[in-house]
Point group: C2
Chain length 384, copies 2
C-alpha cells in the first residue's frame, strides 16, 4: 500500500444547528477542507454517520453529500460503526487511496442529534448496544458505561473524584477551541457537585451530544513530496472488534479492541506509546478515557486515573489528551467524532492548535470507539 | 491493485424469518460461505445493511456479526448505500483485499424487514429518498418509481403490459431457486390483472421485501492460481452517484450512475455488453429493469422493454436477466440484495444454476441500485 497524506481539513462548530440540514452541515466542513487543500474535486467520498436514518430519516448520505458539494456522479458511500463511524470512514478512505483504486478521497463525518426529543435520541444511541441482550433490558448507553465505571471503582479502589482531571482538562482546553460545544472552564468543586446522570456517572463525566461535521481530504504522500510540500502522513491505521454486549467479555474493564488496534497501529508506524506526542482519545465518559490510556499502554492496568492526578494529561504534560476539548467539551456528534479527532491531531502536528498547542508535536494518535468498546479504530499521524 | 477471486458463497432462503435474529440470519449465510470456501477465518468483515437501525434497533453490525460467527476481534464495519448497500460492501471488501491491507474479506449482506408493521417498513424505505425534498412531500419509494414509469410510458409510447416479460421471466426462474421468496410462475393475464400499488406500478411490477442474508469470501486470485484451483475473479468494479431527488436530474428517465459505473467496469474488464453472458440487474420495479438495460448498453434509449418482448431475457436468450428470480421473485431484502446478485452470478459462472443455467456462462455482471438511481454499483465477474 502506498503512503497516504492529509491535504486538507475542515470542521463546523459543534452546537445545536437547528437551522442547518445534514447536507448543509456536511457541506460546510467539506468546503472548508477543500479550501484548505486548494482543490475542488475528489475521486471518492466516505461518509461516517450513525444516526441519520433514525433521527433525520435520511440514509444514502454518500450520494446526498456528493451532490450537495458539487461532486454529483462521484463514487460515495456511508460507513457505520456506531460512535466509531468517523474513524471507520477515515480508514475506508485511506484504504481506497492506498489501493490505487482512486487518487484522492474525501472523508466526512456528520451527525445531527439535537432536533429530536431527548428520549428519541437516547433510544437511537442505544442501537450501538446489543439490541437483544442490553437495550432490550432497558439499558441506555450511559447506563452501560455507569456499570463499567462502578465495577472499575470497586475493583481498583479509586474514588469518583479521582476522575475529575479528565473533565477539568477537557473543559480547560475547549475554552480555546472556537468549534467546541462547551467552552466554560470547570473546577474540582463543579465536578464533584454535578448532577447525577446514571450513578456513578454525573453530568461532568459525560460528553454532550451535538450537531456538527468534519472533513479530511486524503491524497498519496508522493504527490505532496514531489511538490516539496510538508507531509503529514497516516503512519498507522487499524481496526478491531470485541463483543458488543459488555457482559459477554472476558474482562469488562479491559478494552481489548483498543489494545489490538493500537498494537497494530504502533507496529505499522514503528513507534510505541512513549513516542506519541498527543493522543486524542474517546472520552465519551471519563471511565472510557481511563480504559483507553490503559489499553494503549500509557498507564498500567487499573491505573488509568493516575496520569490525570499527576498533572500529565494537559498540553504540556507527558500524555496530552483531549487537547481541543475532547468528546467531553468539544462535544460528541457521534458519527462525526472520529473525523474531529483526526482533524485536531492534524492541527497539533501543523502547529495550529493555539493556546493548547503541544510543544513540538510530531507524532499524534487518535482513537475512536464504537459502542462501549465493540469497534475501536486507532490512527497514528506523523509529520515527515 | 491485485486481482481478487471469490472463494466461497452462501445464502439463506428469503422469507419471513420471524424466528431468526439479524445475527442468526447473517451467521447462516457466513457459515455456508465459509464451508463452501473450506475456511474458518477472514481478516476483515464488510456488512451491507440498510435498515437494521430503523427496524431492528441495532447498529454496529460489523462487531455484532464478527462476534456471532466466532471471529470476535476481527476488523468489521457496516457499509450503507440504501438498497445498494450489498454491492457497496462487496466493493469495500474487494478494495481492502486488493490494497494488501488484508488477505481475505468476508462480505455479508443482511436485512430483516418483515417483523415490523407495513407503514413502519414503508417509512424506513423512504429514507433512501431525499428526506427534505421527496419523503417530506409524502412520496413513498414505490410512488417515486411510479412517477418515473408513468413518465416513461408517456415519453416513449409503451403500454404497461409491455413490461410483463420482466415479471414473467423473473417468476419463471424463481420456481427453480430454493432460496427465492416467490416461487409461483405467473401468466400475462396475472400480470395485467394484478392489484394496483401506485399507478402504473402494480403488484407484479414490484419486488417483495423479505428477510435474508448472503455472504461471499474474497481472497487474492494469486492464492487460488498457485493451488491450481479454478478462479472466478472480479474483473470490474465501479460505483457512481446521481442526485437522490429524481426531479433534480437532467433526465429522470436516464440512470446516469448506471451508465458511469457500467462504463468503468467494462473498461476494467476489457469487455462490452456483447460479452456479458448473464446480467443480474436491479429489478426492484419493472421500470428499473428497463432503465438498467438502456444505461448499460443492452438496449437503445427508450427501448428497454424490447428485449423482453422479443423473448431475449430468459436463461437461453441474448441477455439473460434475473436468472434466479431477480429482485422481483427471488425477493429484495434491501441491504442484502447486492450480495445475493453477486452470489447468483457466481452460481452461473460455476455452472451451478440448475434448470436456469445460462449455457456456457463465462462472464457475468451484477448491478445494484441504491435509491431510485442515486448510488449504482456495477461488478463484472469472470471465469479464468
Amino acid at each position: 500500500m502506498r503512503e497516504i497524506a492529509i491535504l486538507g481539513i475542515g470542521q463546523t462548530p459543534i452546537a445545536e444547528h437547528w437551522d442547518k440540514s445534514l447536507r448543509a452541515l456536511a457541506g460546510e466542513a467539506v468546503f472548508a477542507a477543500m479550501q484548505d487543500a486548494g482543490r475542488e474535486q475528489a475521486d471518492g467520498i466516505f461518509v461516517g454517520s450513525m444516526l441519520s436514518g433514525l433521527l433525520s430519516h435520511q440514509e444514502n448520505l454518500g450520494a446526498l453529500i456528493a451532490d450537495w458539494v458539487g461532486l454529483r456522479g462521484t463514487e460515495a458511500v456511508k460507513i457505520e460503526a456506531a460512535c466509531g463511524s468517523g474513524a471507520a470512514a477515515l480508514r475506508a478512505g485511506l484504504i481506497a487511496v492506498a489501493s490505487g483504486a482512486m487518487d484522492s478521497a474525501l472523508v466526512v463525518g456528520v451527525e445531527k442529534m439535537t432536533e429530536t426529543v431527548g428520549s428519541q435520541t437516547t433510544a437511537a444511541l442505544a442501537t450501538a448496544a446489543d439490541a437483544d441482550w442490553e437495550a432490550a433490558q432497558g439499558l441506555s448507553f450511559v447506563a452501560i458505561n455507569a456499570l463499567i465505571m462502578r465495577r472499575y471503582l470497586h475493583e481498583y479502589g479509586w474514588k469518583h473524584t479521582d476522575f475529575a482531571p479528565f473533565s477539568i482538562n477537557a473543559h480547560a482546553n475547549a475554552v480555546h477551541n472556537p468549534n467546541a460545544r462547551l467552552r466554560d472552564p470547570i473546577t474540582p468543586h463543579d465536578y464533584n457537585q454535578a448532577r447525577m446522570v446514571s450513578d456513578p456517572i454525573n453530568l461532568l463525566d459525560a460528553s454532550p451530544i451535538g450537531d456538527g461535521a468534519a472533513a479530511i481530504l486524503l491524497v498519496p504522500a508522493e504527490t505532496l513530496k514531489r511538490q516539496g510540500q510538508q507531509v503529514i502522513a497516516i503512519a498507522g491505521s487499524a481496526s478491531a472488534t470485541d463483543s458488543i454486549a459488555v457482559h459477554d467479555r472476558r474482562d469488562p474493564l479491559w478494552l481489548s479492541a483498543a489494545e489490538t488496534s493500537a498494537r497494530k497501529a504502533y507496529a505499522q508506524a514503528g513507534v510505541g506509546p512513549a513516542e506519541i506526542d498527543v493522543f486524542e482519545l474517546h472520552d465519551a465518559f471519563s471511565i472510557m478515557a481511563a480504559l483507553s490510556l490503559e489499553a494503549c499502554g500509557f498507564a498500567e492496568r487499573g491505573q488509568g486515573p493516575r496520569l490525570g492526578l499527576e498533572g500529565q494529561i494537559g498540553p504540556k504534560g507527558k500524555v496530552p489528551v483531549a487537547t481541543r476539548g475532547g468528546l467531553k467539551a468539544r462535544g460528541h456528534p457521534v458519527g462525526a467524532t472520529g473525523v474531529y479527532q483526526a482533524v485536531e491531531v492534524i492541527q497539533q502536528l501543523r502547529g495550529e492548535a493555539g493556546a493548547t498547542q503541544v510543544p513540538d508535536a510530531k507524532i499524534g494518535m487518535a482513537q475512536n470507539i464504537g459502542g462501549s468498546g465493540a469497534t475501536i479504530l486507532t490512527h497514528i499521524f506523523r509529520t515527515e
